[in-house]
């Protein structure tokens, strides 16, 4: 299964490299000595207790914040100098689309095509085809014309994931995408992610507390608490008594106990 990606994508240069990151708000450091790398086709889960700096780290990795010290490279470049932003597929935390005006699922997902760089150009047939494919991959093709606010929370979440897929990303960054989402939507979400990794060789950085749906697919678990306190396979994590799959409640409990 990893071979399909390997055949097409011989380049194994890391998608994302962060080295020696140090950052804080005002004068209080939130993160220190953070090193992280993600290779093509790699599925990395980032976990940590509340206030551990997960969201801050994501902002640094995406170039929304500049670190006090250390460097971030996305596809070998500093984030602020990355021209092809479509290579990042981003799903914000609890995306609450300002929905004063109705918008369809398709309209939302189509905005994913704007990241190709030429955001002013009219849409081509290939754009529409990509949008349709993204909708199918999350199982929302039948609901494409429905207003987003008529969908369930899980369905809405999948629409935001489809928007990230629509840019044809090499790296998916998902911030708590399945918090409070029903089981069926979690399974769909897992299938779609695995599809992106296997078929397109995408790397995935998933921030989540609920890893049971993807327990068998995650390559590495990174535990953050101001700095990275664990970085290894789920098997290694299991040897320290924490299972991702069987006891879904283990992880949050363990994270809270972390000092």
């Amino acid at each position: 299964m990893a071979s399909a990606a390997a055949e097409r994508e011989p380049d194994t240069a890391p998608l994302l490299v962060a080295e020696g990151l140090r950052f804080g708000y005002e004068r209080d450091p939130v993160l220190h000595d953070v090193d992280l790398a993600i290779a093509p086709g790699e599925f990395v889960a980032l976990v940590g207790p509340n206030g551990s700096g997960k969201s801050t780290l994501l902002q640094l990795l995406l170039g929304r914040l500049r670190p006090w010290e250390g460097t971030v490279r996305l596809f070998g470049r500093p984030p602020e100098r990355l021209s092809d932003r479509g290579r990042i597929g981003y799903v914000p935390q609890r995306p609450s689309l300002a929905s004063e005006v109705p918008a369809t699922v398709e309209e939302l997902v189509a905005s994913g095509r704007l990241t190709e760089g030429r955001w002013w150009r009219p849409f081509s047939r290939a754009d529409r085809e990509t949008v349709r494919h993204a909708l199918e991959s999350v199982g929302l093709a039948d609901l494409a014309r429905r207003p987003l606010n008529e969908l369930s929370g899980g369905q809405q979440q999948r629409a935001f994931i489809a928007r990230a897929f629509a840019s044809g990303p090499s790296l998916l960054v998902l911030d708590e995408p399945i918090a409070g989402v029903d089981q069926a939507s979690q399974r769909r979400f897992r299938d779609a992610l695995v599809h992106e990794i296997r078929e397109h060789g995408a790397g995935v950085l998933l921030v989540s507390h609920e890893l049971s749906a993807v327990a068998h697919d995650v390559d590495r678990v990174v535990v953050l608490k101001g700095t990275i306190v664990f970085d290894g396979s789920p098997a290694e994590l299991a040897s320290s008594g924490v299972s991702l799959g069987i006891h879904a409640e283990d992880l949050p409990l363990w994270l809270e106990e972390l000092r």
């Binding site: 929304r64 369809t104 939302l108 905005s111 994913g112």
Partner: protein, 283 residues
């Protein structure tokens, strides 16, 4: 030179001045709801009102300087929209007070400038509440030119504008020029306010940016549909309001806005009736 000569239209649009008013009102009916849809989505429904206050200073400056009121107001309104965007970005906490300072300084400056020229007369009143029946050929030409520019920009950039007004966070990560597009949206709004001020007036311009959109929100099931329905409501109420004002001698600007408000009320009641209907099949 006449840009608009009387053509063979039926009563109440058979006269040249009514046809000038009709052309200008239809333009407003198209561009005000078009730009308004993005403003409502961005929760800036009343920004048109604020920019209108600043535009009034431009009217005053135009009278004092002897320049065109329309184009001088445009310069002031664009400068005002840039200042608003700058304030919004710089001072999030006290932005509200900063905006009030800008808006009321604008209208006060307009009043003082006009008093310098002894021009606080009935003619100025037309800028406040609209006077479409007295628009000149030159003004109609200006309004049409602004309308073409506004519609071209909004239609061409509807997708990125949709993205920035619905999801700022994602749009920034996606590399869209969010700040630049926000500035552009402000400038286009300023152009819309100025182009509409002779028709519905500075006091009512925001209504034409919001009320047709509010109606469309009740009925439409997509963003594109909202744009289309809002424009249809804007054009229909502009034409009907103008006709009604001629038939019964009413103030045209106010009549147009009251019709837009009435349309919203009817759509709102009809929607509730449909929602309560037992034969409703939509899950």
């Amino acid at each position: 030179m006449r840009f608009v000569a009387a053509v063979g239209l039926p009563y109440p649009f058979e006269l040249a001045f009514m046809q000038r008013a009709l052309l200008a009102s239809v333009c407003v009916g198209v561009f005000a709801p078009l730009i308004g849809t993005f403003l409502v989505q961005k929760r800036l429904s009343l920004i048109g009102d604020g920019i209108g206050h600043v535009a009034f200073a431009g009217v005053g400056a135009g009278v004092v300087l002897g320049t065109s009121e329309l184009w001088t107001a445009l310069v002031f309104a664009v400068a005002g929209s840039l200042a608003i965007e700058w304030l919004r970005r710089r001072r999030r906490a006290s932005g509200d007070v900063a905006l009030a300072l800008l808006f009321y300084s604008g209208i006060a400056l307009g009043v003082v400038l006009l008093s310098l020229d002894d021009a606080l007369t009935g003619e100025v009143f037309g800028y406040l509440v609209g006077a479409p029946l007295t628009v000149t050929d030159g003004e109609v030409l200006g309004i049409v030119a602004l309308a073409v520019g506004i519609v071209a920009v909004v239609v061409a950039l509807r997708r990125p504008l949709f993205s920035i007004v619905t999801d700022d966070d994602w749009s920034r990560v996606a590399g869209l020029p969010v700040d630049g597009l926000n500035v552009l949206l402000g400038v286009v709004t300023a152009a819309a306010v100025v182009a509409a001020m002779r028709i519905v007036g500075i006091l009512l311009v925001a209504a034409m940016m919001v009320l047709p959109v509010a109606t469309a929100q009740l009925v439409a099931r997509s963003f594109a549909g909202t744009l289309r329905i809002a424009v249809a409501v804007g054009v229909a109420t502009s034409v009907a309001g103008l006709a009604a004002s001629r038939l019964w001698g009413l103030a045209p600007g106010g009549t147009i806005v009251l019709l837009a408000a009435g349309t919203f009320a009817i759509a709102s009641i009809a929607r509730r009736a449909v929602a309560r209907s037992p034969v409703r099949t939509q899950a």
